[in-house]
């Protein structure tokens, strides 16, 4: 995980600025102030490494599927790395996350190693869930990751409930749950956001609007242009951000989470992004155009951040390639390590059914 040193200081200044500025002032805030947040070198390098790890991990999972070495199904997050590398590093270690089914990158960013997760996908005992859960249920409580429910939208109230309990215990922690554009049409979204609001729980509802729920465009299924608008139904604050800008994601999450710690309340944050690959492995992507995909690939969070890093003198092409190769080697090694590892047997699995 990136150190929070340099970035945090900048970010805190930014938060203070925003806190003192009224809503009107924020609107009038000079461009420079809005643009003020930049990672320092160390954090930039760490962030880049995280994004590359997320991307490479998914590529590797894809390869493993093709080779029949992973079974079941999986939902890959390629294209959404700015969220992975921007969210969890902006949170405290004791803050919780609940990514959705497309969440491997978030899980790695919160602390699980590629090995922990790859082992789960390969259903061996070393997997975060001992091979019982698989891709849709990467839960790692060591790193306060309560993972995803395979029932789209059902983790939204789970997160709200966790936030409620943290608040009851007087902890200054927040719960951040990620869900898609399509999930915002579930009744659970409505019920959970209403209760989160009336009980003022520190839940950060992060809608990763990647424009599609499986094959269905949000433009068709979501009756409103910006999902953030739905916060009004719950007297809840909200904001819309470019989900492909890792510095913006980081600083926004940090600002909101820190403010929630002091003054517990929920927040709806909408991050616009795009998933490059199909919904799951069997998707032919007939529902969208190659042009649209190409346009979004131009907004690649990694490529764009790389340009900035080069501009700022934080990285060279060569150093970037080296980092990429290192990440690749690391993930290859983690994957190799999974092979031949033993799996949980029936007797042991029976122990997980009922609490003892």
């Amino acid at each position: 995980m990136p150190s929070k040193g340099v970035g945090s200081i900048v970010s805190i200044c930014f938060v203070i600025y925003r806190l003192f500025a009224g809503i009107e002032d924020i609107k009038k805030m000079p461009e420079e102030a809005m643009m003020a947040f930049e990672f320092g070198k160390k954090q930039s390098l760490e962030t880049m490494k995280l994004m590359l790890t997320s991307r490479r991990f998914e590529e590797k999972v894809n390869e493993m599927f093709m080779q029949g070495l992973i079974h079941g199904t999986t939902h890959l997050g390629i294209g959404q790395e700015a969220l992975h590398a921007g969210v969890s590093p902006a949170l405290d270690a004791d803050d919780w996350i609940l990514p959705n089914h497309r969440g491997h990158g978030h899980c790695i960013a919160k602390g699980s190693t590629p090995y922990d997760i790859m082992a789960e996908l390969m259903a061996v005992r070393d997997g975060v869930c001992k091979g019982m859960g698989g891709s849709m249920h990467i839960i790692d409580t060591r790193y306060k990751n309560m993972g995803s429910s395979g029932i789209v939208g059902s983790a939204i109230p789970l997160a709200a409930g966790m936030a409620l309990q943290l608040k009851r215990e007087g902890r200054k922690n927040v719960v951040c749950t990620m869900f898609g554009d399509a999930a915002s049409n579930r009744g659970t979204f409505h019920e959970a956001l209403n209760m989160a609001s009336i009980w003022k729980v520190p839940a950060l509802f992060l809608c990763e609007n990647n424009m599609y729920g499986m094959s269905v465009p949000a433009k068709y299924s979501v009756s409103v242009e910006d999902i953030a608008v739905r916060a009004k139904s719950y007297s809840m604050e909200s904001r819309i951000i470019d989900g492909n800008d890792v510095e913006l994601v980081y600083s926004t999450i940090k600002e909101i989470a820190d403010s929630m710690r002091e003054n517990p309340r929920p927040f709806l944050l909408e991050a616009k992004t795009y998933r490059w690959l199909g919904h799951s492995k069997s998707d032919r992507r007939e529902y969208r155009t190659k042009e649209e995909e190409a346009a979004w690939k131009k907004k690649c969070p990694i490529a764009n951040f790389k340009v900035k890093m080069i501009e700022r003198g934080f990285i060279t092409d060569k150093a970037f390639d080296k980092m990429k190769a290192e990440v690749e080697a690391e993930i290859d090694a983690a994957t190799e390590k999974c092979k031949g590892k033993d799996r949980v047997q029936l007797e042991e699995a029976l122990n997980y059914v009922y609490s003892s």
């Binding site: 919780w96 997997g127 975060v128 869930c129 001992k130 091979g131 019982m132 859960g133 249920h137 839960i139 790692d140 409580t141 309560m146 993972g147 429910s149 395979g150 029932i151 059902s154 939204i156 109230p157 789970l158 997160a159 709200a160 409930g161 966790m162 409620l164 309990q165 943290l166 009851r168 215990e169 009744g187 659970t188 409505h190 019920e191 959970a192 209403n194 209760m195 009336i198 009980w199 949980v344 699995a349 122990n351 997980y352 059914v353 009922y354 609490s355 003892s356």
Partner: protein, 326 residues
């Protein structure tokens, strides 16, 4: 020992556990000032305040899931829904989440949640407020289900349920709320998964639970006048089911009748029948095991019909008599 109502027994169990542990929280609609739809929590707000009494909007699915989320990080919620019929609204939380999170996470997470719901007909509340929906859950690994018939068992089982680290469904029956029975003052629990012989006998085992139990006991008392000595087995827990007690009873009596309020077809009696069929008790049977349950229709508002669709004392006596004649 003091005679208390079923309702008081539930309130006492909750109150004792809430006093012992601030993380035990009652969650539900109108549980505060109103005291709950049936008055179960009347008076509790004064003692426990809003910290332990979480009054919810009409958002059953949402508050069940929220309670579950809270339970994964330290709360021990008791979730009350007004009518068991609204089980349909919380089944995703119970079946797809509470029952599975410990398993799916390889044991990382426990879900110490109690779900309380009043079932049953007899109050003129018609088809959507009178069902007995236990079979929505009995086929779900990961859930425990208790369904007490007496105030004593209600209190003891509810305390066990609250102390259990996994999800427990605690089913109540509206017509039992005002019934009375002995409830000791001190702390005690009733073990989940143990049936109880509520009346001993040698001629036939009448196996039942919840609201049908007193009806069976009444039938047994009347059968005694006819010289028929019925044993009445109160299952108390449906899951895990105390097959041992059932089998021992049937081995002794050689006959069994299973009685519940839910419709016969697809009802829980099928499991009880099978458990006898699969045990050595089968070889002791003098006549086939029989089932009595609700008629194959939604619960009608018409009160004449509402009475006719659940088994009554006469039905039970008649079944037993026929069985014994065979």
């Amino acid at each position: 020992m003091a005679e208390k109502t079923f309702l008081d027994a539930i309130r006492e169990a909750m109150s004792e556990e809430m006093r012992n542990d601030k993380n035990v929280v009652l969650v539900g609609e109108d549980i505060g000032v109103y005291g709950g739809c049936f008055g179960v929590s009347r008076g509790m707000l004064a003692e426990f305040g809003t910290e332990q009494m979480l009054e919810t909007p009409i958002s059953e699915e949402g508050f069940m899931d929220m309670a579950m989320g809270a339970s994964m990080v330290g709360m021990r919620p008791i979730v009350e829904i007004m009518f068991g019929d609204f089980s349909t609204l919380v089944s995703d939380g119970l079946i797809n989440h509470a029952a599975k999170y410990r398993f799916m996470t390889g044991g990382q997470v426990d879900v110490p949640l109690v779900f309380r719901a009043p079932f049953g007909s007899g109050t003129g509340a018609a088809a959507q407020h009178s069902q007995s929906l236990e079979t929505m859950y009995t086929n779900t690994p990961g859930l425990k289900i208790v369904y007490p018939a007496t105030p004593y068992d209600a209190k003891g089982l509810l305390k066990s349920a609250i102390q259990d680290d996994g999800p427990v469904l605690f089913f109540e029956n509206k017509l039992l709320y005002r019934t009375r029975g002995e409830v000791p003052e001190g702390e005690y629990t009733v073990e989940i998964g143990k049936a109880d012989i509520k009346r001993e006998g040698n001629d036939v085992s009448i196996i039942s639970y919840s609201r049908m139990l007193p009806v069976c006991l009444e039938a047994a008392a009347k059968l005694a006048d006819e010289g028929i000595n019925a044993e009445v087995v109160d299952l108390r827990s449906l899951k895990p089911l105390d097959t041992e007690t059932i089998v021992e009873s049937v081995k002794k009596t050689s006959r069994a009748l299973v009685v519940h309020e839910a419709p016969v077809f697809g009802g829980f009696a099928g499991e009880v029948v099978s458990s006898i069929m699969e045990s050595e008790a089968f070889y002791y049977l003098d006549s086939p095991v029989e089932r009595l349950g609700g008629k194959e229709m939604p619960v009608p508002y018409n009160p004449d019909l509402e009475k006719q669709i659940v088994p009554v004392v006469d039905d039970i006596m008649e079944s037993v008599r026929k069985m014994i004649k065979k």
